[in-house]
Amino acid sequence: METTPLIPQGVKRCSKLQFSLWMAAAGAVLLWGVYAMYLVWFKGLNQTNMNDAYGFALWIWADLAVIALGGGAFFTGFLTYIIGKDKLKNIINYAVIIGFICYSSALLILAIDIGQPLRGWFIFWHANVHSMLTEVAFCLSCYFAVLTIEFLPIIFENPKLDRVPFLHHLSHNMHRIMAVFAATGVFLSFFHQGSLGGVSGVLFGRPFAFREGINVWPWTFFLFTWSAAACGPCFTILVTWITEKLTRKKLVKDDVIQLLAKISGWMLATYIIAKIADTLYWAMVTAPSMGFSFMDFYSGNPVYGIWILILEIVICGIVPAVILITRKGREAKSLLMLGVVLAVVGVCVNRWVMILQMLAVPVVPFEEWFMYAPSWQEVATTILPVAYGILVISLAHRYLPVFPQERELNPTN
């Protein structure tokens, strides 16, 4: 019987040994994370440096950050299937895989983060529809299901699986109605990205985070969706670039990347304008009405100075936006990558301040700033998804036809 190769035809992959070593390295990091996860699950959250002032900490930041970065999947899907930017089909697979990794990581971190993981399903069963977190949980899990659905056909395209007639047809049929799934995903993403913004924005007991808004949605609801749409694709570009560097070959054509970068740039530019407006209104109206002056939030503690706002808005907001919306910026590879990295850092900083700095600020006048540094268990479990992502990407890249342009760009004779 003729054996079907596991590796897609017409592409070159590294040797088994090299691959194994690479996987072992990532696996070791993963195991470290798994050990920390085991400690947290069996000994409880006392393994962390969280406390009653830091109910949310590194993990929730990581959650918010990976979901924002995973936003590349929904927004690229939106552009590809709904707007009809066909060019992006050359990167959509990878965006979906990255999204899948980000969202599964987010769910895993949530499962570690909650004090009673075995009761975690209460969030669905006893759902409080007024809670932003409920909305997050539902949309997140639904969207994860959608991402899985989007990921499956790619898996089925593995030469070996493709030989199974049912899977072959399933892959084909799923591709055919992918727009329906993608549209659903966009709808879900809009809400959960927004709800994640709402998580801190609705907290009227937290003057640093509280924002006014429309109806039940604070401004952060829209800002989070917007920034995820802007910065998620940047993360896709960044990961693609890293993959290209590591595999030492070109995987996606420049025009595809540049189209995505251009759209991201404009999203980022508009986002940052909205963010500045929001910040100004908050600093001049919302916070003072609660008895806080703007600088109260950026002084009197060893970490959070005005620098972090400048970093978030100017260095990681305005600068990358300018780079990405200008043709010159996009076409110069190093500038493009700088812009992409800054955008990614920017959205992470934004999520950090909205969770960590929010909790650091003293609200009761006779309390002091609350400072926090994560325990190694928190760090390990936060790095765990990175190792996990590397493993999934490596496997996907090796065994699945992720990049439609790979063969064309890397002809094997």
Binding site: M50, G115, H126, V199, G205, P288, V364, P365, F366
Partner: protein
């Protein structure tokens, strides 16, 4: 969803704590531990990892010796009515699993530890840090399990807990009144452990809506203020102090606001 506060049947249980009387003796804290089965660990000096349903803060006026003044401020859960007194305290609407709720008939913000799955969103929402998390498995060494109060369930690791205004005492009082064919619960029948224990009677407890209860009058005292009124959390815990610096320490003010605009927000009086 109760707006009518003249309505006799709508109770809003609350506290008035007279800071002029509080000497910081700690009886309220201990009474609370004993009544509510609050566990203890070897090291309780990290106050952010210490289960306290009521905690006494020491405030100082910051002036150098000998003009220094200090004031003790016991802080339980403030049982906020929330914006517009619609039963939406900062914590209740955020709980994804309805493990904490606002009881419309008493105004008590409840907490159901067996429902809570430990996401801690409510803790992030509460500006008072009144909510405490069970970071550890509770342990009762030697025979201390024997003193556990059967009216209050012990909490397991991984859930949030907080002051319930000794709601189990309310239930007992209500049952007793029912058996005796009464609709009203007497003021003295329902008192939380802290108010009962307080040796200086600094803590007065009762129905803020009931003109016959002591708290009704006290809350309108010119000495009265609440913590963080500007956030519109609308607490049902009032404080009394004759010292301006203490009243001012109850809220945040901008530099140009030389003195508190008003001690109480008179939206609903």
């Amino acid at each position: 969803m109760k707006e009518e506060h003249g309505d006799k049947h709508t109770k809003r249980y609350g506290m008035v704590i007279d800071l002029d009387k509080c000497t910081g003796c700690g009886a309220c804290m201990v009474a609370c531990y004993a009544e509510n089965n609050v566990p203890f660990k070897k090291d309780e000096t990290d106050k952010l990892d210490s289960l306290n349903w009521i905690r006494i803060f020491q405030l100082t006026n910051g002036k150098p010796y000998p003009d220094t003044e200090i004031c003790y401020l016991p802080m339980p859960c403030q049982h906020c009515d929330g914006i517009g007194k619609h039963g939406h305290p900062p914590c209740v609407s955020v709980c994804p699993a309805i493990a904490t709720d606002y009881d419309d008939s008493t105004g008590v913000v409840s907490q159901i530890p067996t429902r809570c799955f430990g996401c801690r969103y409510c803790m992030a929402a509460c500006p008072y840090h009144a909510r405490k998390f069970n970071w550890w498995d509770p342990v009762w060494p030697a025979d201390t399990k024997k003193y556990l109060n059967p009216n209050v369930s012990t909490r397991m690791r991984g859930v949030v807990e907080k002051c319930t205004l000794c709601f189990h005492r309310y239930q007992q009082a209500r049952d007793k009144a029912y058996l005796e064919g009464r609709e009203e619960i007497y003021e003295s029948e329902y008192q939380p452990a802290c108010a009962q224990a307080c040796p200086t009677n600094a803590i007065t407890f009762g129905d803020l809506n009931n003109p016959d209860h002591a708290v009704f009058k006290l809350k309108n005292s010119p000495r009265a203020f609440r913590l963080l009124e500007r956030l519109h959390t609308n607490p049902k815990v009032y404080y009394l102090s004759s010292k301006t610096w203490v009243r001012r320490a109850g809220d945040n003010y901008l530099e140009n606001e030389s003195r508190p605009k008003s001690n109480r927000q008179k939206i609903h009086s």
